[in-house]
């Protein structure tokens, strides 16, 4: 079973609009990361948010973390065509094992 999971398979927005991708997870974590993977490339980290943080920003990106509901969101404002990618959330495990669990990803298409 997935320890981290995005809540949507695919989203599409028009350029300039805002979009939010949601993620839920099942274990106690020390941090949650958001990654973006463009076609033909490896994932690239966007934001790392620790369990004692509630919000983190990186330019047009904003991530939130709610440890009580074990959920996170990634919002992108003023979307651009180059934001088209698959977005993953990834959690570590607060068990001493050094590993990251990735969700299945949400495919975002930004329409010009």
């Amino acid at each position: 079973s997935q320890l981290a999971e995005e809540n949507s398979w695919a989203l599409s927005v028009h350029e300039g609009e805002s979009v939010t991708v949601n993620c839920s997870y099942k274990t106690s974590i020390t941090a949650l990361q958001w990654y973006r993977q463009k076609s033909g490339k490896g994932p690239a980290q966007l934001i790392l948010i620790r369990s004692n943080e509630r919000e983190k920003r990186n330019g047009r990106l904003r991530a939130t973390l709610d440890t009580s509901s074990q959920s996170s969101s990634l919002s992108i404002t003023a979307t651009r065509c180059e934001d088209t990618a698959v977005y993953f959330c990834a959690t570590d495990t607060n068990t001493g094992y050094q590993n990251f669990y990735f969700g299945k990803g949400t495919s975002l298409t930004v329409i010009p």
Partner: protein, 113 residues
């Protein structure tokens, strides 16, 4: 541009053949991960290293899969006898620490015919 270098980008093997792929982690990163990503974008953790020592690996890798990260040489992942189900994108990532940002390479896309 990724500073984690994976070779080859594409690898085509017949069933039963050996498949080997390499990874040069980002300079100064002591932690290296290997993940398998299938066509549905699902990630499967395979193994990770810290300074050449195995930290954790899944059971699958203990049979047909082997990996190493020797000092002063690229890390490698080898499948002894490839199966059709091994067809996937194999991603190598490096990190400064176990629980920090992962820097991924572009991956090796393995096709087992």
């Amino acid at each position: 541009n990724s500073k984690v270098i994976q070779t080859p980008r594409y690898l085509v093997k017949g069933q039963g053949q050996k498949a080997k792929m390499r990874c040069i982690p980002e300079k100064g990163h002591p932690v290296v991960f290997w993940y398998q990503q299938n066509k549905n974008n699902e990630f499967k953790f395979l193994i990770n290293f810290q300074n050449q020592e195995v930290l954790q690996q899944i059971d699958m890798t203990e049979k047909r899969f082997s990996a190493e990260c020797p000092s002063n040489s690229p890390c490698s992942l080898e499948i002894q006898s490839s199966e059709a189900g091994d067809s996937a994108l194999y991603l190598c990532a490096s990190s400064l620490d176990n629980n920090e940002r992962l820097f991924f390479g572009h991956g090796t896309k393995l096709s087992v015919l």
